[in-house]
Symmetry: C2
Subunit: 489 residues, 2 copies
């Protein structure tokens, strides 16, 4: 394989809380006036003027935490829950071939993000013995073509489903549950259902909790005060991670260290508060788009998880005081180096309305040498003798240099390596950043009133009792088929 040892070839040391060599660094130089000029960068004076707002945001988040609203900040301290998850995961790893998450949004994106980051990149293609546990599927859509195809590649008798919905009533998830529970009954019989179905939901309320009690299903609880998009470090995200062999204690230890790192009210000593403040300042100066661009194939789905966190938390019509403002940065997922060949042209030359957030990895867990297989090719031979890791780093730096020259704001979260500890840090850092940003944008970062209208319309169209009037209104408003349509040919 011509595989060369990574920069750090030592076996992983035991986890301790203060792992300075695993600490993520946040570099915001590329967002400053010093780097990209005063028209597009944030000056020292501007940052100084924002310090008061930042400190107030920090204080409010602290107050809300103390009041019990932000229980996601306590998730790193879970002890009994971790043991419960680990015990369940060990049993599942032993006895099943396929593990399926039925969930959507906050009940799926974190699962995928953690899995992509920390499991083998081709996990589902490995032989069972090499993988050491089941395959993982996260079914976060209701596309019938896709679900039917999934059914073809799975043996239900050797499959465990983890149905996740905090409310216990999410339409997509309840539809999937009915479908797959029905298929399971056919395949394994009704009494065995409980060996194949684990519910993760509110500890007390909701239809799914009711079902757990009625059918004697096994279940995990999502603690009160942990909203869907802040639930990745709860049982929501931990079970599938543990089933895939990921060290969830290390993940939580990383998250705990990020909480500690954000204890200070001074943005210069609090990376999440600093980034929230800079993003807020730049948004007000027209940088309405926030691109997360990992230079790591493993971190690509973490950008999708963040998209929900940032968009749903900050994209609001009303401020907390009821003022109509329709604010919210639009998050975008990009991927280095891949999107250099797709989006960087626009980022460098198009409208200067973006902030680029690099996720950078100092040491890849494996590196590969680029050999000189063919001599005498000018476009290839200069690469020989380098590693792919060096190529990744050179391209990332090249992109940063181009963005700087074009005066485009950018920043970097630098992960020493991608491992459970750093991923845990990053998840918590970004959640804290979102909480601080919610206060700075003066919005409620924990609700999502804008999805109600669509949900109600869908309920009406699906004939849910109680929505008859909406159904009638939709029918009345339907326009004649074919109007305003350009048919082809």
């Amino acid at each position: 394989m011509r595989e060369i040892p990574a920069a750090s070839g030592q076996p992983a040391p035991p986890v301790t809380r203060e792992q300075a060599d695993w600490a993520i660094r946040f570099d915001y130089h590329g967002m400053t006036a010093e780097a990209i000029g005063g028209e597009h960068g944030v000056s020292e004076a501007e940052l100084g003027a924002a310090a008061e707002a930042a400190t107030a945001a920090h204080a409010t988040v602290g107050r809300r935490h103390t009041a019990g609203e932000l229980a996601w900040l306590d998730l790193p301290e879970q002890r009994d829950e971790v043991r419960e998850v680990e015990t369940l995961a060990a049993e599942i790893r032993e006895r099943c071939d396929t593990f399926v998450v039925l969930g959507i949004g906050g009940s799926a994106l974190g699962n995928t993000a953690v899995h992509t980051a920390l499991a083998h990149p081709f996990h589902n293609l490995l032989p069972r013995e090499r993988r050491g546990g089941p395959r993982l599927f996260v079914l976060d859509n209701v596309d019938p073509s896709w679900l039917a195809a999934f059914h073809e590649v799975v043996d239900l008798r050797r499959t465990v489903f983890n149905v996740i919905t905090k409310s216990g009533s999410t339409a997509e998830t309840m539809a999937q549950l009915q479908c797959f529970a029905g298929l399971l009954r056919d395949a394994v019989g009704g009494p065995a259902l409980r060996d194949h179905l684990i519910a993760t939901t509110d500890p007390r309320g909701g239809d799914l909790r009711r079902l757990v009690e009625r059918e004697g299903l096994r279940s995990l609880a999502i603690p009160p005060g942990v909203g869907g998009r802040f639930s990745v470090l709860s049982a929501v995200g931990l079970l599938s991670a543990a089933v895939a062999g990921i060290d969830v204690r290390e993940l939580l230890a990383g998250a705990a260290s990020a909480v500690s790192a954000c204890a200070q009210p001074d943005p210069r000593r609090n990376p999440a508060l600093m980034n929230a403040t800079l993003q807020w300042l730049l948004y007000r100066r027209g940088k309405v788009i926030s691109v997360m661009m990992p230079y790591s194939q493993r971190l690509r789905d973490l950008a999708d998880w963040f998209r929900q966190l940032w968009a749903e938390s900050l994209g609001k019509r009303l401020t907390c005081s009821g003022e109509e403002r329709s604010v919210g940065p639009t998050p975008i997922k990009a991927l280095g180096v891949t999107d250099q060949h797709s989006q960087v042209q626009l980022y460098v030359e198009g409208p200067n309305n973006k902030v680029i957030n690099f996720l950078s990895v100092a040491r890849f867990d494996r590196d590969l040498a680029i050999p000189e297989t063919f001599a005498g090719l000018p476009s290839a031979s200069y690469l020989a003798g380098h590693t792919f890791g060096e190529l990744m780093h050179a391209e990332e730096r090249g992109t940063a240099i181009a963005l700087t020259a074009a005066r485009r704001p950018h920043c970097t979260h630098l992960l020493p390596e991608v491992r459970a500890h750093t991923v845990g840090q990053l998840l918590m850092l970004l959640q804290l950043q979102t909480a601080y940003a919610g206060e700075l944008f003066e919005v409620n970062a924990y609700d999502q009133p804008g999805v109600e209208a669509g949900k109600i319309a869908a309920f009406a169209l699906m004939g849910r009792p109680g929505y008859e009037q909406q159904r009638a209104e939709i029918s009345a408003a339907a326009r004649p088929h074919g109007e305003h349509v350009s048919p082809i040919p």
Copy 2:
């Protein structure tokens, strides 16, 4: 499986050019003032006023085509090339287990888009006999951790690599080529290399073509006048499609029918011209973000292909007349219904700076019933008796209703079904839309000058001869390590 027959259960009829029942319809009602009001929608008067510019754009595209610049418009007429691809694909399907595309940007995104749309959704997990051909991997990144992991799941002796780069000099692709060609030599011996390596590149120039000639490799040609991001219907995209068992003739027939459908200079009779015009008008009114949101798991990667097309073609600093303007809509990929639980809150309540482009599927190739597996659950029982296809459609319509109520512009490409013909139509429609938009935005839609700076910096950092001065400049500009950094903790 409780699988119910799709609305059209007939076997696929033979392909003819005018398949009116497969014709994609473009519905732009949601972009109009009539639907969402004059502040955010386009009025009849505005559209009328833009007709002249639209007609001129259509004429310019026609002229450039006649002049031979836009050879991608001729790709549907390929005959010899299709036979060559089909012959090669038949041989590969027979003798290999894994087919790998080494390419990036325009040499990868189309391959993935077509594959996801038309192959089995879990293609690589099917047993060999069920799949009927090899697994497919598109390696469009140089992340060493990912490439090393890929190597673990592949038997090189049963693998064929298709290395694709039009210039024959793309750094990432040449690095991959050297790595995997080296590994192949070790695995199968030098003389057998040509059985495992197919080059797709310029017919005459570049290092990869030179290599083809020197080593006697098999190759396919990317015709002159077909730029990377417009190359999906050339050998670039066709070989991997044919290897996966996709009907490339039907794909091209669909593309041909889209060319026919765009013959008219009147936007009301030319769907690609209509959408280009509306997007351009709305961009000038502050809708700087263009979201492509397929309500189909199969079409999700087509949105990524379009991201490159739209961003790299339109995101330009200079207009054709040299005026500095830094224009270009920012494309975003979203996915229905999944992103209803992630992005729709922002789309409905956040800044009104987006156009949402739905890709809608009238008939899913398979549908599934939602049974009433558990009685007495209010949040589940109303779904029973419906199908997942109905749920998808209800949610899509719900989202459109919410966007309309919030006065957010949106439009829909309605595909009667997802099959090679409709996918071919859509690819060509979107390419034509991009070409028209390039003329309306007054930019060169076929270059990408903004990626040069980053490339040069990466060359310099990788020590490419001829870039010594840039390397020295980069070193001199490097700031001291640790400045502007908030370390944790």
